[in-house]
């Protein structure tokens, strides 16, 4: 019984999965981080307690938008792989 394990293919699976998976998680985390920064940045006025409903759409910082856009592109590529391939 000869068992051949394709270590090269396995290495490729690991490296590509690692790059795609960790890359996507990091991008999304950076986006969430940038998004959360906008509400924590101005703590100068603690008197306004009812300031919670922050104006969402207008306050998305460019970095967050960029990160989420990149995430969306990666997800779209994933969908392409699922559907087309």
């Amino acid at each position: 019984m000869s068992v051949s394990i394709d270590w090269a293919a396995l290495g490729v699976v690991f490296l590509v999965s690692f790059a795609a998976g960790v890359g996507l998680i990091v991008l999304f985390s950076l986006g969430v981080n940038a998004l959360a920064t906008t509400t924590t940045e101005p703590p100068a006025s603690p008197t306004h307690t009812h300031q919670k409903p922050a104006p969402r759409l207008t306050s998305i910082p460019p970095i967050a938008a960029l990160c989420f856009l990149a995430c969306a592109l990666i997800v779209a590529y994933g969908l392409y792989l699922i559907i087309i391939k």
Partner: protein, 381 residues
């Protein structure tokens, strides 16, 4: 082979058991995509299983790839008869029900392969089983794929917490990750639907081909896609709450960033390896990713004892299903009466497991409540 009426009964039996298997495959694997989303509060339990069910249904229609062989080369496909497939399916269903009752995530594909191997072995001898292929396509991926997914999820989780550690607005961070989880969990569900739905369709189509009811090499007819997609979607919607609780609550306390990391890693590993033709089990990948996500967060306690239990279940999956499949195939081989006996025994086993499960039912309502029962490792809150 057998004369007219006998063949018809066995073909009908195969189609029905294939759909039952697809159904068990559905509720056995809901946890893969949705356990971490339910545990982290990203999705309400009922909403989660509904999304997963719909995406599994859609997934059945999406894929253009057709399963060309029943066993993926694990056994000599020319030796496979409808009776062998029937026995194999019974073995797979029995193992799926038993592990579901115990709340253990195990691979539905491995159960199916095991059942087919056992049934082929008794029908055509050990020579018809390709053991080298079993090692390279089943055993090696079973060991390596959870580790790969686990490492990706662990590093991803660590970085996700590292990046967002300074944010004081914790609620907004959590909500951000929860929103992301809806997408990542959906991707796992969709990938699952396209993969596992194909298996049952392939089995039914190839059975129709061997029975001469479908020309060789033809794609699954629309009605086959429809009923197979419906079976897996209904099974998914049913929930399999026992396994969801295991993966969502009993491995580690899952938070939203961990859930996102686990689901994203699972999707990445599944998609990359299916592109490169590397066979693996969705269940094992997702389980590995959840352990990795637990290990990647500081202060999180991972119950590694669960990993031992699951490893044993994975190790037993193929041989156990093989034994049941062998017995079922052997009895069904004796003719229509034998087939009926096996079918009735299968129904009785299913009813028994269901009755047992009603003693301590786990449902959408209590899936996230963990009774402080016989939990070996004390979990610091």
């Amino acid at each position: 082979m057998r004369e007219g009426p006998g063949v018809d009964v066995i073909v009908l039996a195969v189609i029905i058991t294939a759909l039952v298997f697809d159904f068990t495959n559905g509720f056995h694997d809901t946890a893969n995509a949705m356990a971490t989303s339910i545990a982290s509060g990203a999705l309400r339990p009922k909403v989660a299983v509904a999304i997963s069910g719909v995406l599994n249904f859609i997934g059945a229609f999406l894929s253009v790839a057709v399963a060309k062989t029943i066993s993926s080369g694990l056994v000599d496909d020319t030796k496979i008869t409808p009776t062998v497939i029937f026995g194999g399916l019974i073995g797979a269903i029995v193992w799926n029900l038993a592990t579901w009752f115990l709340g253990l995530p195990s691979s539905s594909s491995h159960a199916l392969f095991g059942g087919l191997i056992g049934a082929t072995w008794v029908a055509a001898g050990a020579d018809a089983v390709h053991f080298a292929t079993v090692v390279s396509k089943v055993l090696v991926p079973a060991v390596l794929s959870p580790i790969v997914a686990g490492v990706v999820a662990m590093v991803g989780t660590y970085l996700a917490y590292r990046i967002t550690a300074r944010r004081k607005d914790h609620g907004r961070v959590v909500r951000g990750f929860q929103s992301g989880q809806v997408v990542s969990a959906s991707m796992v569900s969709l990938a699952h639907g396209t993969n596992d739905g194909q298996k049952t369709m392939g089995i039914i189509s190839l059975t129709l081909v061997t029975a001469g009811m479908l020309p060789s090499g033809s794609a699954p007819p629309f009605w086959v896609i429809l009923i197979a997609g419906t079976a897996i979607a209904l099974g998914t919607y049913l929930g399999g709450w026992r396994i969801i609780r295991t993966l969502g609550k009993r491995v580690t306390e899952i938070e939203a960033p961990q859930g996102l990391a686990a689901e994203t890693s699972s999707t990445a590993v599944i998609l990359v390896s299916s592109q490169l033709g590397f066979p693996l089990s969705t269940t094992q990948v997702c389980t590995g990713a959840i352990f990795g996500a637990g290990a990647g967060r500081r202060l999180a306690s991972v119950r590694w004892g669960m990993a031992g239990q699951m490893a044993i279940a994975w190790l037993l999956t193929l041989p156990s299903a093989a034994i049941v499949g062998a017995v079922a195939g052997r009895v069904a081989e004796t003719g229509t009466a034998g087939t009926v006996v096996v079918a009735l025994a299968g129904v009785a086993f299913g009813a028994g497991i269901y009755a047992l499960s009603r003693r301590q039912p786990i449902t959408a309502r209590n899936v996230n409540d963990l009774p402080a029962g016989p939990q070996p490792a004390a979990a610091p809150a």
